[in-house]
């Protein structure tokens, strides 16, 4: 606890130091080697571009984040729900797992023709894609967490007359939490990226759409501006879940 409380400032300092070093290298490389924008634009150029297009980018980010967050929430619910269902009814495992793996083995984009067909080109198709990508990660993490439980602790709970649900709620869920939250943390980034990629395949707006159009216009400064915004958004999202994780897992 004390470590978590004492170190953020130092951690943040180091994080900033790392970012500064990276940006310095990038800037140095781009400027030093006179890289043209279509290879790698300099950070300063990107930031200037970002500022000049801020209105468009903020709009697009809002759009993308909406898709990512809703899809993320949905994906978490589905993943947790399936894992819990498997935990309660073990027979479901052999039905759900191969199917989930098979579905997840194909890149989301592979489904885009179908998903776009079924859910249209608007927000809902992106949400579905994000939810699909997120739910698998969550399912795996949650299931592993639920399985990790000490068998004798389960026995103890049973001896108190706890049913499957009681064991799940009081023992298996708390045991699964660390892994679940790690899965949720990893999924944050993936949710944003899947939203963006899906947007690139057909959308009305969003960062992916901006990137797509910028690529066509060979405007790489704008491509990278959009990527910067996407990164910032994901980083914030990742940080938020990480923060919740530290709050919730006080005992580790």
């Amino acid at each position: 606890m004390s470590r978590a409380l004492a170190s953020p400032s130092l951690a943040v300092q180091r994080g900033i130091l790392g970012a500064v070093l990276l940006i310095a290298c990038w800037e140095g490389l781009a400027r030093g080697l006179h890289l043209p924008a279509y290879v790698l634009p300099a950070v300063s150029d990107i930031l200037v571009g970002l500022w000049s297009k801020r209105a468009i980018l903020i709009d697009a980010a809002g759009y993308t984040l909406l898709e990512a967050l809703v899809g993320y929430g949905l994906g978490c619910l589905i993943g947790i729900g399936l894992a819990v269902a498997i935990a309660l009814v073990p027979a479901l495992r052999s039905a759900i797992m191969p199917l989930a793996t098979a579905i997840n083995s194909v890149p989301v984009v592979g489904y885009s023709p179908l998903i776009l067909l079924w859910f249209g080109i608007g927000v809902s198709s992106k949400i579905v894609m994000v939810a699909m990508a997120v739910s698998f990660t969550i399912l795996l993490s949650m299931l592993a967490g639920l399985d990790r439980v000490d068998r004798r602790a389960v026995d103890l709970m049973k001896s108190f007359g706890a049913g499957r649900f009681g064991v799940l709620w009081r023992l298996r869920l708390p045991t699964a939490l660390p892994l679940l939250l790690a899965g949720m943390r990893v999924s944050t980034v993936r949710s944003v990226i899947v939203a963006i990629v899906t947007e690139m395949l057909g959308a009305h707006g969003g960062l992916g759409w901006v990137i797509y159009q910028a690529v066509l216009q060979i405007d790489f400064v704008q491509v990278w501006s959009a990527i910067f915004v996407a990164s910032a958004a994901s980083l914030a999202f990742f940080g938020l879940i990480g923060f919740l994780e530290r709050k919730i897992l006080f005992w580790t």
Binding site: M157, K158, S159, F160, G161, R170, L171, W251
Partner: protein, 287 residues
Amino acid sequence: MQAARLPDPGPTIEAPQVHPKPEPLLELRAINKTFGSVAALSGLQANVAPGEFVTVVGPSGCGKSTLFNIVAGLEEPDAGGILRFEGKSCHAADLLGRVSFMPQRDLLFPWRNVVDNAILALEVEGMPREQARAKALKMLPEFGLAGFEKQYPNQLSGGMRQRVALMRTFLFERDLMLLDEPFGALDALTRAMMQRWLLDVWQKYRRTILFITHDVDEAIFLGDRVLVMTARPGSVKLEQIVDLPRPRRPEIVTSPEFVRLKRTLLDAIEEESMKSFQSSIAQEKSQ
């Protein structure tokens, strides 16, 4: 219990032994249990009458905890064994939730503090958390845990952890209690205090208690009857009735009856422990 009230110094009855009445609360016949190639229990036979305090001693690894797991409903005995509870034949699993069981390892949940670990069973039963907590808080001083209610298990000493586990078991009020070395990690006085307290509870509420211990003094001091188990595969070697008057005072341990009982039991245990070491050495030799 009738047998235990016989007038004469401790009659030593070789198992199997029959209690004609009252109807036993728990009856075990021909219980076997094997784990892969290890036979843990073989032909075990025992009765426990309602309200009786039975202590179990035996060499380490002879199957005591396995026996408890079966009675707690956590493991099924091998096919062929007979298990009867409250007069009805049943599967081990039917006993789940009907006996209060304290396992040998404390199994405290690291994300629950002392109080919340203690009220685990009450919560499972559906008691509102606040009510359960209030109940537990009242018991803390008796367990020497006052002031530690907010601590987490990793902040406790070994003996304190054991006391929390014990308290958790006590709060789960069932007619039959199974205690697996509950006082193993306690110092002499704390142990003595807990023993006295346990006897109080037992006499007040007439709960039936099955109690594993390695301390023969403790087995005699507490029990109506002491079961001595054979070396692995475990069965009951000896049922020693302890006919010392109750309430028993601490000084009783120096009384001649007590010492005689202790001698009998120690002899039986030593014989079995010896066997378990010899068989272990023989097995080594044969390889």
